[in-house]
Symmetry: C2
């Protein structure tokens, strides 16, 4: 499994959860929203369509399975899936669980107010909880 240097803002704003077949899965450090990001271990790519075809399929498969898991876990009203990359050009996909009573609903989460970081202990226990959910999921396409 190759590794790829992560953009420093991704490192600062999120917490590593797991290595999926193609992507590093990270938890955004913001208690307002259950918010995961997937970062393919491929360098020099900003657009999904610039990945090789097999990688594109694997990325969307991982995004779909993670989204399904997050929706079941959080009882979200909607999962928001997005590749924006206006600020951080390294390719990454957001998977955000949204509820109709959350802080930004029905608007987008990006650029909305200030992140509210997790307590460090809570972050670790959330990582363990997410890891347990990933166990047994069919993440390889």
């Amino acid at each position: 499994m190759s590794s790829v240097a992560l953009d420093e803002r991704l490192v600062r704003d999120s917490y590593p959860v797991a290595e999926l077949p193609l992507c590093q899965l990270r938890l955004m450090d913001d208690t307002r929203f259950p918010w995961l990001i997937l970062i393919p271990r491929r360098s020099g790519v900003s657009e999904v369509f610039d990945l090789e075809a097999a990688d594109q399929r694997q990325l969307w498969h991982e995004v779909g399975e993670v989204g399904r898991m997050l929706k079941a876990l959080t009882q979200a009203d909607k999962i928001n899936v997005a590749n924006l990359g206006n600020v951080v050009s390294q390719l990454h996909v957001h998977v955000v669980a949204r509820k109709s009573d959350d802080d930004a609903w029905p608007g987008p989460v990006w650029g909305h107010g200030a992140p509210q970081p997790y307590d460090r202990n809570d972050l670790a226990s959330r990582r363990d909880y997410l890891l347990a959910q990933l166990d047994g999921m069919k993440l390889q396409l």
Copy 2:
């Protein structure tokens, strides 16, 4: 090719361009951003991961090919791809060409200011132009 009733807000806010193998392609009626949406002809689905696996792959293939075309056409700095669905639950994917000098950069386009509708003649000519780009693209996975 089956058809599916479109949410009335999608009809009001966008203009039909073409029927792709899975999706209806529409142009958002907002001159501030080159902004397309793809709506799979499947009813009762809000989340991409609730589509059948083959449909998920076809949807992301169409999104990727449309994104690549739109980036080449507009010389965009980044293509934003998103399935949000907080307001309109009918499954649809946004493909938006972003430039570093556009009205909302680097923030998201959703919920940003008021749309600026196209002149009707301009809308028709843009549709023709987009249709010409689609000609010859490999849209069936």
